[in-house]
Assembly symmetry: none
């Protein structure tokens, strides 16, 4: 397993498009609508997405595409909840006693997910 594939810190818009299943122009449009979504840009002006950005995009996607919020409604949700979602779930489900515990748990979980993703990619 090539570990570096999963350690990436930055993603281009085409990579994010593939990961999230959203067209590039939708990503740009949402960026124009959600001030929270504000990926950095390199010297050429190209977007550089972080994992945090991708996580936020997934959250917006859930609100707009699955739960049926308007853009305006999704803004309100994001603004008031300050982005917990999965975070709250994990924090409440896992007895976290130190940040090292949590980090260890996440690392293990990620390795598990990497394995699953690899298998699924092979099938797809």
């Amino acid at each position: 397993m090539k570990d570096f594939e999963f350690k990436k810190l930055y993603y281009s818009i085409s990579e994010v498009s593939r990961i999230t299943g959203l067209e590039q122009h939708v990503l740009r449009y949402w960026e124009s609508q959600f001030s929270e979504l504000n990926p950095a840009k390199n010297r050429a002006g190209n977007r550089i997405y972080t994992n945090r950005d991708i996580s936020l995009i997934f959250e917006i996607k859930r609100l707009v595409r699955e739960q049926g919020f308007t853009i305006e409604g999704a803004k309100k949700v994001l603004g008031s909840k300050a982005g917990d979602g999965l975070a709250q779930l994990i924090e409440t489900e896992v007895a976290v006693e130190s940040s090292d515990d949590l980090k260890q748990f996440l690392l293990e979980t990620r390795a598990f997910l990497n394995d699953l993703i690899e298998k699924l990619s092979g099938k797809a």
Copy 2:
């Protein structure tokens, strides 16, 4: 104060319009969209709203006009009111029906975990 005003069991569409602040044609439109909203009718075919109907209308109004749901989104909310918090959340957010669904969920989770790990690494 005329007590009977508050003991009323049935209301006409014009009364409901005044009470809820919604136009009559909106009430008829919503009725066509939400199967749950189904006021009885008298022999003449005129709508006869109960207090329950009015309560539901207020609920829809809150979802659509204040919280920013689409009609479709509001339907989902109303339809799944039976379930409980977290369990419902998980089931609706992760409706795994195929390996593609699972892969998508894992991709999303991985981005989220990557973000968390980055943060923790920075702090540690």
